[in-house]
Symmetry: C2
Subunit: 217 residues, 2 copies
């Protein structure tokens, strides 16, 4: 599949069929993640591909109340939306609600872990939340999402289960001080799957030489 075509059509696909993912397909999408860059090429992250039904149900049971809480917050924060924007939000929330109720239906849930001792964090002590540890993890997650899209697999990035990290750590036998950064349910799309994205135009996302400056004259 063409790179640009894959990037242009990789979107959250939240309704999955329970059918299993063949080992060779799963291996290709996981290997794509491994190719991503990390600080100092330390590769301080690992994936756990959860296929065990009992563990998937346990993760669903942890996820659902976190999702319901987030959904309430999101509804309140977006209460001012009207028209097409409100319609889009409602369709997104309906799909995300389906995911919350059926997280255990996706045949594979990939859990990204990281070693907190080796994250090359350069933005500590700046008086704002640190994000740079993510530079050694989320490039891999993006490669996984793109590879899933190329294979015809639906997937979506979620991070709510980080709130339940101590329980997840016990469930998946993740040793301290390894931590969790992302949870990606993967499955064959139950409905239309990947397709066009809703994003701001590049002119509003990219500036020239200074914040707010015009880039393309």
């Amino acid at each position: 599949m063409d790179l640009y075509e894959a990037m242009r059509t990789t979107r959250a696909v939240r309704r999955h069929r329970p059918d299993p993912i063949p080992d060779d397909v799963l291996r290709r999408v996981l290997e794509a993640a491994v190719w991503a860059p990390t600080g100092g090429n330390a590769q301080p992250w690992r994936m756990i591909a959860v296929r065990d039904p009992a563990k998937r149900r346990a993760l669903r049971d942890l996820y659902l109340p976190l999702w319901k809480e987030y959904q309430q917050e999101y509804m309140q924060a977006s209460a001012g939306l009207t028209g097409e924007a409100a319609g889009k939000r409602d369709r997104m929330l309906a799909a995300a609600d389906h995911l919350g109720e059926h997280l255990d239906v996706s045949p594979v849930l990939v859990v990204f872990c990281f070693d907190v001792r080796r994250m090359s964090i350069t933005d500590e002590g700046l008086g704002r939340p640190s994000v740079v540890g993510g530079a050694s993890i989320y490039h891999a997650v993006q490669n996984l999402l793109l590879a899933c899209r190329a294979e015809g697999l639906g997937c979506v990035l979620t991070t709510l289960l980080c709130k339940a990290e101590p329980v997840v750590r016990t469930l998946l036998e993740i040793p301290a001080p390894w931590a969790t950064a992302a949870f990606v349910p993967i499955g064959w799309p139950a409905s239309k799957g990947h397709g066009p994205l809703t994003r701001r135009p590049v002119e509003r996302m990219a500036f020239g030489d200074r914040f707010g400056g015009d880039l393309f004259a």
Copy 2:
């Protein structure tokens, strides 16, 4: 370009020619970044494409002492390497040192900024460094790196300049509370450019059902 081929060969390219990047090429790689997912589709990040020579020199002058300090730490931490591993490290450090001395030669330096108020951070208060804010930024950076690879442009992810964020914010007129997450110098490769990667095998990066568990029987 094929997606898997792009992901398999996107590596740090640190020696760039000073030749300018045509607007249409720059626009394509920046637009690819825009397609990436973010928490709640908030897109709480922006890019500043720095082409102004004086600003690029100012960023080089900020970067170089940070790089020299990091280089010392990296040398000490990797002092135990021998043979081919030591050789690889030395070649990487030589290229990275070249980048530090010539950061202003790359015709474009893309600075990724983010809005700290809208990062959907779910891993605060866990007693370990937070990384989840990065889930709304680094997917975009990875798309940019992959698009550069498809266009034949060299590029490399750097984060050291976050340490100089207050000065960078003034230089690029970044308003508070926006912050910086990544700095990607881009240019046409001065030597061989992209190619094979050095990564662990997928069997060592992906587990089945529990941390350390075999995935592929």
